[in-house]
Every structure is written in C-alpha cells, then in structure tokens.
C-alpha cells in the first residue's frame, strides 16, 4: 500500500511540471498591449515640425519585442468609424512621419514612450489621417493545419495642417426618434451629420425635450465626447431619453449585457416606485441645437422631431381596475335594491 501511494505521488510530481510548462507557453503566446492616448488630434502649420508622444504598455507575462509601423485611415460608411488602409504609392504624406525608435523591447508590465515626429512640407494643407501600429517584431511560426494570428494595437492620429483654405461645414441630414409612439421610455434620438467641408470637425450640442405646453422636461448631450467627422463623410450620433417610469433597461447577468439570437440587447421593464413622478404621457418635441467652430465663429445646426408617449399598459390596468370596482359597486347596489325595494 505504501509503495502504491509513493508511486502515485511520484507520478503526480512528474506530471505537474509539464502542466506548468504548457500554461507558461500559453501565457507567452498571449498578446496584451495597451496604448495611450486612444487617439491624437494634432494641429500644425505648413513647413513646420511637430512631435507627439505615444505610449505602449506590455501587459503580457514575457518581454515583447515590438515594431511600430504607419498606416492611414479614412471614414468607413456613416458609422463615424475609421477604415484602416495601407498607403498608396502616391501618398507622399506617408513619409512625413518618423519614430524615435522603430523597434524596441518592453518588459512585462512596463510602459514605453515613443516620439512621433511629423515634418510637414510647405505645400501641405488640411487633414491627414494616420494610424500608428504596434505589433510583434517577429511573426509567429505559422501553425500547420490551422490559422495563425498576429495581433496589433493602433493609435489614430488626426493631423490638421492649418491653411486659410480650410473650410469647416456640417449639415444635419437626418434627425429622428426610433419610434413615433412609445409605451414607456427610453426614446433613442438619432442625428446623421455630414461634413461638407474639407477638414475634420467635431460638432457638439444638446437636445431639448419639451411637452406640448412648452415645458422642458429633459436636456440631452450630443457628442460631448467630441467625436470627429472626417471630410466628405457622415457620422451618426445618438442620445437616449431614459428619465421615465417605468423604464426599459438592458438585461444583465454577472455584469454582462445579454443579447438575443439576433444580437439585439435583451431588455426588461424596471419599476422604481421612487420615480413615479416621472410617468411620461403625451406629445413631446425634441429640438436639437449643435454648434461647430468654422474657424471664426460658432455655427449653429438645428432640427426638430416629435413623438408620443402613451403608457397604455398602465392605462389599461387602471381602466380594468376601475371597471371591476364600478361593476362590483353596481351589482352590489342592484342586489340591495332587489331585497329592499324603494317604496
């Protein structure tokens, strides 16, 4: 018996190092980079040089040998999101940027600061859009019978070379609510803006929601995060009016938002009886007022949309309760009169 137990213990001791080695190998393959800032907005003038700093942190368990490269981006559809592209041979602005180091090693948990220098020729003007890309300097060995992944983290840079010809112009293409009639809030209001100028711009402002009698009931912020719209592209901004009772909220489980099979967020009705004064009912008007800086002054953008909020489930329930109550009273009186008719 003792011999058997000793054999089991010995076998366990031999197995453990292999398990540890497998875990270490797995961790070593993990790609974990943090970059800062998230994006940069840089202004300069033709014929000048400007240097910016970008930082990268290795969150992995082993030292990372990293290489930095440059790509460009443009607007992707009307999402306001960038589309990363390689430079074309005709993109001379690809040569304007240089790095303090093109390849370096970052120890686990450490930050590395990199200088990115833009040397802008006198002939430059308006906007140029870069992505500074951090990736492993050595490509992994392709796996047989499978797919190999190469990870990269990028910092987007919007370079504005200021010239008198810069034109900042934004148009409101669409402003609408996701429904015309709501039972309960939230109401999601959407604006589609188009940059009709030749340089990126960040409009911002507010949506004022009023009752039909003109009383303002809500103030929502639009693009307080100063998202940019690239030239000749559109971007959609949304704001949600969710100050009501009761209120639809996303379903969560263990801190994770739940989605249905179609990928839509699952919602549930929240009844916070401390908010009963916020029952919404009637016709509401949402007025949007945005401004953007055209280089000399703030230019306003305005729009209006109306919608109704009719909490019909509450009205229906109240109506049913009233009906049954009145019905009960009626039948009770009727029985009494039969027993004791009025002489």
């Amino acid at each position: 018996m003792r011999t058997f137990l000793a054999a089991v213990i010995a076998a366990t001791l031999f197995v453990q190092p292999n398990a540890t080695h497998a875990q270490a190998a797995s961790d070593a393959n993990r790609f974990d980079l943090t970059v800062s800032p998230v994006f940069l907005t840089v202004s300069t003038t033709p014929g000048s040089t400007t240097t910016q700093q970008v930082k990268v942190r290795n969150g992995g368990p082993v030292a990372e040998d990293l290489a930095v490269s440059l790509m460009k981006f443009k607007a992707y559809s009307d999402t306001g999101q960038p589309e990363l592209l390689n430079f074309d041979p005709t993109d001379d602005y690809a040569t304007w940027a240089s790095f303090s180091e093109n390849r370096f090693t970052v120890a686990p948990g450490e930050w590395k600061t990199l200088n990115v220098t833009f040397t802008v020729p006198p002939s430059a003007g308006l906007g140029y859009y870069y992505a500074v890309n951090f990736t492993r300097a050595n490509s992994p060995t392709p796996v047989a019978e499978g797919t190999t992944l190469i990870g990269s983290a990028a910092v987007l840079i919007l370079l504005d070379v200021e010239v008198p010809e810069a034109k900042r112009s934004v148009e409101l293409m669409e402003f609408y609510a996701d429904h015309k009639l709501y039972a309960f809030l939230p109401s999601t209001l959407t604006l589609r803006l188009k940059n009709t100028g030749n340089i990126h711009v960040a409009p911002r402002g507010n949506i004022f929601i009023q009752r039909s009698n003109g009383t303002q009931v809500a103030l929502l912020n639009i693009n307080e995060r100063l998202g940019n719209i690239l030239p000749d592209s559109e971007r959609v901004f949304t704001a949600t009016w969710d100050d009501g009772f009761p209120l639809y909220i996303p379903k969560t489980e263990n801190g994770t938002v739940l989605h249905d099979k179609k990928g839509r967020t699952e919602m549930k009705l929240k009844w916070d009886f401390t908010q009963t004064q916020k029952i919404r009912f009637g016709r509401y008007t949402a007025n949007v007022l945005l401004v953007f800086d055209d280089g000399t002054r703030d230019v306003p953008i305005e729009g209006t949309v109306t919608f109704w909020v009719v909490p019909w489930p509450i009205l229906l329930a109240a109506g049913l309760i009233l009906y049954f109550a009145l019905s009960g009273i009626y039948h009770s009186l009727k029985r009494r009169l039969r027993k004791h008719p009025l002489s």
Partner: protein
C-alpha cells in the same frame, strides 16, 4: 537628645514644602475660568469668510452661577456680522449642545449669544456659527470666550489662540490617461483534420478582449494573408468563401470553403459601450462565417467605454472529396484594434 528633637521639625518643614510645591504644580482651576476651551475656524485663510466656526468650552467644576449668555470677543481684525447664524447641529460627539433658545448678535468683533439656559458644572458645551465671521489678515490672533449672567456679570472665561494664514487650501491634482487595451488569448488555432462530410470549426478558438476608457469606443479589424488555407507542399489553397458583402457565408459540405465567425462572448456591463459584431462575420450557425479579405475588414466595434468586451474568433473550413492531401494547410490573420476618434 538635641539631634533627636531637631529631626521632627525638619520633617514637618519638608512635608510642608512638598505640599506647597505640589500645590503649585497642580493645574488649579479657578471658578472664573473654563477648564478647557477652543475655537475651530472652518477657514484659516486671511480675509476669508467662515461658514462653520465651532466654539467649545468646559464649565469648571464648582460653577454655581446661572448663565444666560455666551460672549466671544475676537481680537482686532475679525469682523462679526450683525446677525450671524447659530446652530447646535453638527457639534462633536461627546459635547453637549449649548442649551436654550439661542439668538446670536454681532457687533464689530464681538459675538453675543443670548437665550442660554443655566449650564451644568464640569460639562463640555458647544455651538457652531454657520456664518457671519470674517477672518483678519494673517497672523496670531485670539478670542475670549465668556459666560455671563443675565445682568451681564462674567462667570467663566478663557482666552484661546487663533491662527490665520495666507492660504489654507492644498490643491490636489491627478491625471487619468486615455488608454486602449487589446488582448489576444493566443496566436494559433488548429483546425485539425478537415472533412468533406462536415464543416470543421476550430476546437479551441482564440478570444479578443478590448478594454478602453476612450469615450468613442473601439474597432477591431481582420485581414487574411492568404485569403484561404494554403498548402505549400500541395501547392493548393482552400480559398475563402463568398464576398465581403455585409452578410455571412454558409459553407457547404463537399465543397471547399473557409470563413471566420466572430461571436460576442461578453458585452461588458462596465462602461457605457455596446458591442456590435459586423454583419459580415456574425455567422449565427456552426457552418457560417465571414469572408476573409486581403485588406483590413471590420469584424466588431463598440460605441463607448468598456471594462472588457470579449469576442471569440472561430475559423471554419470544409473540403471536397478531391482536395489535395497535405498536412500544412495554413493561413495567417492580422487582428488589429484601435480606439475610435
């Protein structure tokens, strides 16, 4: 005998001296002085108005007079408003609220609190001036706290020191950098042996985790170096199926095909972002996925901050009955992430 007679005298003299000395050392409490008193300014900066001066004093033991008012005389330079506000809300634990229907009145540097009812000996009392007192210039100052009878006779008092300085506030500043974190759980996924009778998916897919405090969210792109699974030994490629058209492609058994499915594993509830899987890569079934391009194509994004959104990338492939046999079919995907502008 002479020496014996002198010793008792010396002893008594010594004892008397000891008693006198002890008496001098002991903290004698006069019936006319608080055993303890202090004033806490809520602002010590010069020429600054206070909004909560705390006055505390302890009535000495043996006090037998009947108090009717408390007077605080600040040294020159202080300004006391005509009608300061007095309260006993917020006094320190252990102190007794100054009793009575308190009314405060000010005149130049003097505060008078009337309506005080008789105080108890050996009891600590407190009250707060919510406003009405402005500090003088910087320096050492004093205030005298006095309890008085209704006939204005002083009962107990004490002078307390006050310090006024040029600046009593320390600015604390901090910076939070905007950051974007991109994690791939591994760098290789084995498909194993492909089949002409079923769609094979990676058994151990890799996850991509995005975390950012960037308020405009993040985007993830993917690019295929081979746009297919390429075998160098067989000189053959199992090409990616379909086109990048905003809709996933369903693989058919018995026909070569290769796609990438992106599944939303976690839409983090921390942060205000909502994840969207690009329609092209939102497979929906175990046979579907998006076409892999040689240019970067968006596979997922979020519109706000997040504490860790997780996307699972699942390559799928199938072959025909005449696909060249080899053990080195491979592809390399570039998976790039960035915070949105």
């Amino acid at each position: 005998m002479k020496g014996y007679q002198k010793k008792p005298q010396h002893i008594w003299l010594a004892l008397f001296g000891i008693v006198l000395g002890l008496g001098a050392l002991l903290k004698t409490v006069s019936a006319g002085e608080f055993s303890q008193a202090y004033i806490r300014l809520n602002r010590m900066a010069a020429t600054t108005a206070n909004s909560g001066i705390l006055v505390v004093f302890t009535v000495p033991a043996g006090n037998s007079a009947t108090e009717a008012k408390v007077v605080v005389e600040f040294s020159a330079g202080f300004t006391v408003a005509a009608s300061p506000t007095i309260t006993v809300t917020g006094i320190p634990a252990g102190a007794t609220a100054l009793p009575g229907t308190l009314v405060a009145a000010g005149s130049t540097t003097t505060l008078t609190v009337t309506g005080v009812t008789n105080l108890t000996a050996a009891t600590q009392y407190a009250f707060i001036l919510s406003d009405g007192v402005t500090n003088p210039s910087a320096g050492a100052h004093t205030a005298t706290i006095t309890t008085k009878t209704g006939a204005d006779a002083a009962i107990d008092s004490k002078i307390v020191g006050l310090r006024v300085i040029s600046d009593d506030q320390v600015t604390v500043s901090a910076t939070v950098d905007p950051t974007f974190n991109w994690v791939l759980s591994g760098n290789s996924m084995a498909l194993g042996t492909l089949s002409s009778s079923s769609v094979v998916s990676v058994a151990s897919p890799i996850t991509v985790t995005a975390t950012t405090n960037g308020t405009n969210g993040w985007i993830g792109w993917v690019k295929s170096q081979n746009t297919g699974l390429t075998s160098a030994s067989a000189s053959n490629t199992i090409a990616t199926s379909g086109t990048v058209d905003g809709a996933p492609t369903t693989l058919s058994t018995g026909a070569e095909g290769y796609v990438l499915d992106a599944d939303l594993t976690t839409d983090s509830g921390t942060g205000d972002g909502t994840v969207t899987i690009a329609a092209e890569y939102n497979g929906g079934t175990t046979s579907a996925g998006g076409t892999l391009a040689s240019t970067l194509t968006q596979f997922a994004s979020s519109d706000g901050t997040t504490g860790g959104d997780v996307i699972t990338l699942i390559p799928r492939a199938t072959i025909s009955t005449v696909t060249e046999a080899a053990t080195d079919y491979t592809d390399t995907l570039d998976v790039i992430g960035a915070g949105n502008f």
